[in-house]
């Protein structure tokens, strides 16, 4: 075994380039894999963990208070599929007003409807709520808020002036229900006290099911519950999957493209390790013959070659795990904002599973050529190098020789044909590199387009907010008509419109949603459309993809907006790109809401102003601000936001692309080094015949240039196809569809350099060995026979 060890060590030490290439490839593949698997798991982890700990409700169902009795509901705990249930709890949707509070919410402002549940204790078999601060509401006048909702702090108050006696509640605790079963909790007695005369609170039931992994399973579970109560008794039900999706959204969006890179990296490492080990075997055929003639068994030879691959691969794997964990810090950091939970890290089992899988793949890959080495017949092996190899591709060689090309070029072009298998692997490495670059470049371009699209929610060069800037003393929003007049009077104003927000109910949706009401011609400043068109008049609405998904509606459908007991139907005419508020915002003309008693909130009003071409924006701002000063408001230049998520994605994609390209280049380098080494004798002959260094370099480079060009032409379209699949997947993870224009980013100006990139990549990889070939000492080269 010690003889074997020596052979292995000598093999690793002597092939420094190959060893380096194997190390780097494995490192790249492991880095991307650790990152991909880590993100995938980590994006789910905090929610899954907390949800499991709280025995969160798979389904939070509401039943009409008058339609079913509490006793009957308690019986639904035995419906098929139900493993645990809690409730019924009485539930009300109320609109309180803030009382004394620490966040400065105006006291006469009505808050959006709030789901308040009457629960005696936070614990239970389902939805075992954690108290984050304070204590549970047990007595009259006490309420506990769910964390992350309306910003109330312990000690703050809210009032219900519409209810008899105008009760006031004091916040005594902050709790966290991972399944978001309510926005606030009071004691059951308090809930009864909050119920308006003549009304009955609804019932809330919380269920856990045996099968609740998919939307379809939840739907079936829900149907089973609905069937066990009188028809129409169930008035609404929310699946935990939707909350889970929202919670893991940010990092889930990373997953599709990191997985794409991980797969590319994996292919690449299998390929490169295959090239390197089979190259080592063919370069050492004679050596293997000698070893076997000395009494090495085939098994020992196989082991020697697998070990030669495993040593650098292990180093690469360790480095890859380290890099993957390091890179995950900024990426998961972005995700952390979304959860507000503690620090996320790569799950430890991933740091073990990924390396194990990678090393198994390496060993399996190395085994193929190693077995070939083991099977090699000793006599043949020793004879190799003595007799000229049966040359392949001679016909092509002759054909190329006839072409009117400089001889070094035609010699170089013919080289790939004498070793077709090796040429194919170089081509594959370059193609993979090209796929990576094409994909990475497209990803960056699409992300930038999407970012621009998202920024179109604030169009125009100048924005005027109707609320005075904080700290200026003026507490009230200015009169929008007055602001509009000032803007209209301002020279340089080309056009403008105003928007305001309010919250409305949507028939079929449990929660209220935000409406942005446009006044004035907004067609020039529309959102980026995914499909359909911008609204052109009252009664039409544009909604983001998220809204369509949540409501199951399509363009052309009519949805009913409700507010203050009145209804206003709007027809959906377009799907817009927007990720704010989970893509649930409704965009419509101000006049569409005329029938509803929910005017836009004055402090939400803002103006988007487009300037005449040639207007100096700064001068315009100065002059407009002078005009607006009496109103207490000011205009600002519209600076688009840059999302931290997009920056993190760009950075990550750039790093992974670079790694992939580096490995592809190294793969080429390695192969050309091998080739050059094998052809060192021929190179010596050519030099003796007067081949100049420049001609030698030309020959070696043209030997890979054709392959590079071909691989580029092959890789670029595959990269485009990959991009065109991954981006929609990222969109799905983010809960939106992307406009086709943001995905169709490749045009000729981009594609041509990408195709040529294969050529550049191959050439770059061949440059070093080419120089080496040019400098080979001819006398030494010719001695080798």
């Amino acid at each position: 075994m010690s003889a074997l060890g020596k052979v292995v060590r000598a093999g690793v030490g002597r092939r420094r380039v190959q060893t380096l290439v194997m190390t780097l490839t494995t490192m790249m593949a492991v880095t991307a894999s650790v990152l991909a698997a880590g993100l995938l798991v980590a994006s789910q982890a905090p929610f899954d963990h907390a949800f499991a700990k709280q025995k969160g409700a798979h389904l939070t169902a509401q039943f009409g208070g008058a339609k079913v009795t509490a006793a009957r509901l308690a019986g639904t705990a035995h419906a098929p599929g139900v493993t645990a249930a809690a409730g019924p709890f009485p539930v009300l949707a109320l609109r309180p007003r803030p009382g004394r509070n620490r966040f400065g919410m105006p006291a006469d402002d009505r808050l959006p409807p709030m789901t308040i549940v009457g629960r005696a204790t936070p614990g239970g078999p389902v939805d075992d709520i954690d108290l984050v601060a304070g204590r549970w509401a047990t007595g009259p006048g006490q309420i506990v808020m769910n964390e992350g909702g309306v910003p109330f702090d312990i000690g703050d108050q809210m009032t219900f002036p519409d209810l008899p006696g105008g009760p006031t509640l004091t916040i005594v605790g902050v709790a966290k229900s991972v399944g978001a079963s309510a926005e606030a909790w009071v004691s059951p007695a308090q809930l009864a006290a909050l119920t308006a005369p003549g009304r009955t609170p609804a019932h809330q039931m919380l269920y856990r099911f045996a099968r609740a992994a998919t939307d379809a399973q939840i739907a079936a579970d829900r149907a089973a519950i609905a069937a066990s109560v009188p028809p129409g008794a169930m008035t609404g039900a929310a699946s935990y999957l939707k909350i889970k999706l929202a919670a893991s959204r940010t990092s889930a969006t990373f997953v599709p493209f990191v997985v794409a890179f991980a797969v590319l990296g994996l292919f690449m490492s299998v390929l490169v390790i295959g090239i390197v080990v089979s190259g080592a075997v063919s370069a050492a055929t004679r050596r293997i013959g000698i070893l076997k003639s000395l009494g090495f068994t085939p098994a020992q030879v196989v082991r020697a070659y697998v070990a030669q691959a495993l040593i650098p691969a292990t180093v690469g794997t360790v480095l890859g795990v380290a890099f993957g964990n390091l890179l995950s810090i900024p990426v998961l950091g972005e995700a952390e904002h979304a959860y507000g939970t503690g620090t996320l890290t790569i799950a430890p089992w991933i740091d073990i599973a990924v390396p194990a899988a990678a090393l198994t793949a390496v060993a399996a890959t190395a085994l193929v050529p190693a077995l070939r080495a083991g099977r090699l017949r000793t006599v043949e092996a020793i004879a190799v190098g003595r007799t000229p190899r049966a040359g392949r591709g001679r016909a092509i060689r002759r054909l190329l020789g006839r072409l009117p090309l400089p001889r070094p070029v035609s010699l170089g072009l013919a080289t790939p044909f004498s070793r077709p298998a090796r040429s194919a692997t170089i081509a594959a490495a370059v193609a993979l590199g090209t796929i990576g670059v094409t994909f990475g470049v497209g990803l960056a371009m699409s992300l930038s387009d999407i970012q621009d699209g998202l920024n179109r929610r604030t169009p125009g060069a100048v924005v005027v907010l109707a609320v005075p800037p904080p700290g200026t003393g003026a507490p009230q929003a200015a009169d929008p008509t007055a602001i509009a007049e000032k803007i209209r009077a301002q020279p340089g104003t080309r056009r403008f419109f105003r928007t305001g927000q309010t919250r409305v109910g949507v028939a079929g949706l449990a929660e209220a949603t935000t409406v942005i009401a446009f006044r004035g011609d907004s067609s020039w400043g529309s959102y980026q459309m995914v499909s359909g068109s911008w609204f052109s008049g009252p009664g039409q609405a544009v909604v983001p993809s998220g809204f369509l998904n949540a409501t199951g509606t399509h363009i052309g459908d009519t949805v009913t907006l409700t507010g203050d007991g009145r209804a206003a139907p709007v027809r959906i005419v377009g799907e817009a790109l927007d990720l704010h508020e989970e893509g649930m915002t409704v965009l419509t003309d101000d006049a569409s809401l005329a029938g509803l008693g929910v005017p836009v909130a004055p402090e939400s009003i803002q103006f988007a102003v487009d300037l005449r071409p040639g207007t100096d924006a700064q001068a315009y701002l100065n002059s407009l601000n002078a005009a607006l000063r009496p109103l207490g408001v000011s205009a600002q230049a519209n600076s688009g936001e840059v999302s931290g998520v997009v920056v993190a994605m760009d950075t990550l994609a750039a790093m992974l692309t670079l790694m992939l390209v580096a490995v592809a280049g190294l793969g080429v380098l390695n192969t050309v080094v091998l080739d050059t080494r094998e052809r060192v004798h021929d190179l010596g002959v050519l030099k003796a015949l007067g081949m100049s260094p420049r001609q030698t370099v030309t020959m070696v480079i043209t030997s890979v240039a054709g392959i590079g060009l071909l691989a580029g032409a092959l890789g670029a379209p595959i990269g485009v196809a990959l991009h065109d699949r991954v981006l929609p997947a990222m969109g799905r993870a983010a809960g939106t569809r992307f406009p086709a224009a943001d995905i169709a980013v490749y045009d000729v100006r981009v594609l041509v350099p990408l195709v040529l990139g294969g050529l550049v990549l191959a050439t770059a990889g061949a440059l070093l060995p080419a120089g080496w070939a040019a400098r080979t000492r001819t006398a030494t080269a010719l001695r080798t026979e």
Partner: protein, 229 residues
């Protein structure tokens, strides 16, 4: 008396280890001369040839060929020098196995950028002259040793080099083929080709060369001029 085509002045060559391969060598070869370098294995014969071909640099001293200081040339200039001024023939032929006989012979002309038509004519002429025209399309692997060496000679002569260098050209050949190659070299020298021939075959030296030097341990032990034949 013609000017010397090769001038070797105080040339020593030391490799990293051991005694020098060449030690203070002085030698002049005149144009049209055929010089045979004899000597036992390891005496420095190939080293001497490599220095003349510019394939290696002397540790000391200077090598001038056809008025060119070979030991000071850059790599690119050396390539040009080898293309234009020398032709080389080796013991193991050093033909490129993937190229046909014709393409092997064409190579030096192609590297030198000779017009295609001219190069083809020259190739045909050489193959004809050396009696291997019928093998033009064959690959070297199919040829006998003697035929292969003829191909190598044809390739060496392609660019009309003033100097032909041959390192043990018969060393890998059977007796009949060796005699064949020997006659070819004699014939070439008779038509005015300067030849520097390295061999340890005294018979070859005697028949080809009017002058023979013998190297022992990197020094000229003997310098014999036989009568003009």
């Amino acid at each position: 008396m013609t000017a010397p085509i090769i001038q070797i002045r105080d040339v020593s060559k030391r490799y990293d280890v051991g005694r020098p391969a060449l030690a203070g060598l002085n030698l002049e070869v005149r144009a049209g001369e055929a010089l045979a370098v004899l000597g036992p294995s390891g005496s420095g014969k190939s080293t001497l040839l490599n220095l003349v071909a510019g394939l290696d640099q002397p540790s000391e001293g200077g090598v001038t060929v056809d008025g060119v200081r070979v030991d000071t040339l850059s790599e690119a200039a050396l390539a040009k020098y080898r293309r234009e001024r020398i032709g080389m023939v080796f013991q193991f032929f050093n033909l490129l196995d993937d190229l046909t006989v014709e393409d092997n012979v064409l190579l030096p002309a192609q590297l030198a950028g000779m017009p295609r038509g001219k190069a083809r004519t020259r190739t045909a002429e050489l193959l004809e002259h050396l009696g291997i025209a019928r093998h033009a399309r064959a690959f070297p692997g199919r040829l006998s040793g003697g035929e292969r060496q003829r191909v190598a000679v044809a390739r060496a002569l392609m660019n009309h080099p003033p100097l032909l260098l041959a390192d043990e050209p018969t060393g890998a050949l059977d007796t009949a083929s060796a005699a064949d190659v020997r006659e070819l070299l004699v014939e070439l020298n008779r038509t005015g080709q300067t030849i520097l021939l390295v061999t340890h075959d005294t018979a070859l030296a005697a028949s080809c060369a009017a002058r023979t030097i013998e190297l022992v341990d990197g020094r000229i032990a003997r310098d014999i001029r036989t009568a003009a034949r």
